[in-house]
Subunit: 367 residues, 2 copies
């Protein structure tokens, strides 16, 4: 399939939902993507199955606090500069790119480079949503190496990280992003075509486009966009269960930029009062509790959306008084086995609660 | 000249004094250097004048908090790994190495690599003493570029910094060093032979060896090592004035590791009481005040030394109750012009006092 301007807008909308509140600002990402497509033409989206075993596939994305991503604009050359530097380092051409995470602006980051360099985008990503830390990618969970990785920043600085284990890589990359002004573009986990096929979360880019299209069409047709969203999620091979966890108004918000992350909590109160939901976040929404009872937890998806338009509200865009629905959805199955949960489950974020699937927590199983 | 084991010990002693309390732990540096010389034989020390114009000369040193350097031991491969990586990046062999600063352990860091790689060490350095930040090198003051620079750590991680301006380079390198565990080895400011000749602080390695030898010989002969030190400084073409600023006991010490630096202050009280000297430091001692009156300030050298043995006490080795002399010395002339003072003078460290030379502050001019 060829990704055109309309698809970019749908992808931005879908990735904003799958991002669970994170993945960077989708608005800036969409503008950059649209400019690139307007200039260079449509972008090829290819199935992982079509990759040659030895192809070089490079996940791309922004690292840093989303709060900064919404305010500090890229210069537009970062993604291309990182890929070109990686080509020099590895002594070969990049064959395809892929989002490191299908969330927020990061769902679109590789498309900017793909348009400029004439590369295809693989219909897959490394997280099936967005997560705050690099080692939360499925590639780390499956034992693949993050390095060599390259960070590029608007100021022109280029940083190459080599020989680091995946945890040290995240620590170093985060520190570099902070020192570069709070945000940087990163290419990491360079993969072969075979590794991509075996390990990536497949189909997530086209799924995100489908989700975005469903919301857009429902709005155009005067239908309920939430119904359309849930239907699109249920039809998808990757996700499945999805539904509303809460409906109300933001009455409390704590958010700070700390060590390269946006960290905080938001409280949504029901319109009648008397009931509320608390959501804790680290870039992404991590856990939602209603009157103390857990309704959803990582790696399942928790996204706050404008209750009229179904526009996703990323954690850096949360505001006191916003009227929102809290939407939950099941994470891809790959993220729910015990090996994945040890890296992206509640314990990895310091929560004492044992992981329970969102459909079990909310009695959605019989649907 | 060929540097042998005895010279290494003298260099460690001399560099510890010139380091103004910083430059990293000289003890670990000496042990690594001695092991390298025992295994690979003497190291050639060459005059900057003998370098070919197009030679590739690479300053080396450790970056991070000296407190960490005293506790976290190197694996011994860092310096070599950084130089080899730079050779691959620049597509040519390194012709010679040089200390980025002639202070503490950093006076010896390049000798370890020189011994292992069979390279000569240039009799020069980038600071004529030690300073806490990378951009305080004379090479930055003279407008040369720090990048490409390479950091290597004991864990094996390698970080390449490219295209950064010299201030961003320091910020990024510092953050990387912290993320790598508090200390890393760095090669930076790769120079041509001609640039080295025109800009480096020449003769500082042999001067440091001479200072160390003078102290050693005085101790062996039962003479006053401080008299020998002052005499060696006065004879040197680089420094000149030197003398005791205070004599007493450490009665107060505040020191913390913050953002990759050891920051704090120490108060030395006279034995009779009633008189005291306060010294503020950021890795290196920066300013010394006696009863509020400034006696010495950056870039002049301020080093606390054991009052019996004349062993230099680096800022990470300061202890309550130590009996010390506070020794001051004039910085090399290159560091005292207005361009240099804007980067390494009191204002660069946030002090409001205008720079006055140590010999003027202490009435040494007529000597």
């Amino acid at each position: 399939m060829a990704i055109e301007a309309q698809d970019l807008a749908d992808l931005a909308r879908g990735a904003a939902f799958l991002g669970s509140g994170g993945g960077g600002d989708p608005h800036n990402g969409r503008l950059l993507g649209e400019a690139a497509v307007a200039r260079h033409g449509p972008i090829a989206l290819i199935a992982p199955e079509s990759l040659a075993d030895t192809a070089l596939v490079v996940p791309c994305g922004w690292i840093g606090a989303p709060t900064v991503s919404a305010e500090k604009l890229p210069n537009g050359r970062e993604v291309v500069a990182g890929l070109e530097r990686l080509e020099r380092l590895m002594g070969r051409k990049v064959d395809a790119v892929m989002p490191i995470e299908i969330g927020g602006g990061n769902g679109l980051a590789p498309l900017v480079a793909a348009a400029q360099l004439g590369l295809p985008v693989v219909d897959a990503d490394g997280m099936g949503r967005a997560f705050p830390e690099s080692q939360m990618a499925i590639f780390n969970i499956r034992g693949l190496a993050a390095c060599p990785a390259i960070l590029t920043a608007a100021c022109g600085s280029t940083i190459v990280i080599e020989n680091s284990d995946n945890l040290a890589h995240e620590r170093i990359a985060r520190a570099v992003a902070v020192a570069m002004g709070g945000i940087a573009h990163m290419v990491e986990y360079p993969l072969t075509g075979a590794q991509t096929r075996e390990n990536a979360i497949r189909g997530s880019v086209s799924t995100a486009i489908g989700i975005g299209a469903a919301i857009r069409q429902a709005r155009r047709d005067g239908m309920d966009p939430f119904v359309a969203l849930f239907e699109a999620m249920r039809r998808s091979a990757l996700y499945g269960h999805a539904g509303a966890l809460f409906d109300g108004k933001i009455v409390d918000l704590e958010r700070e930029t700390r060590a390269g992350f946006s960290v905080g909590r938001v409280i949504v109160e029901s319109f009648g009062g008397g009931d509320s939901m608390e959501i804790l976040f680290q870039n992404e929404n991590l856990i939602a509790r209603r009157s103390g009872r857990v309704c959803a937890m990582v790696p399942d998806i928790i996204t706050l959306m404008d209750r009229e338009t179904a526009d996703s509200v990323t954690t850096e865009r949360l505001k006191y008084g916003q009227r929102v629905k809290v939407i939950g959805a099941a994470a891809p199955r790959l993220l729910r086995d015990s090996r994945a949960l040890s890296v992206v489950g509640p314990a990895a974020f310091g929560f004492s609660e044992r992981y329970r699937p969102i459909e079990a927590l909310n009695g959605w199983e019989k649907r």
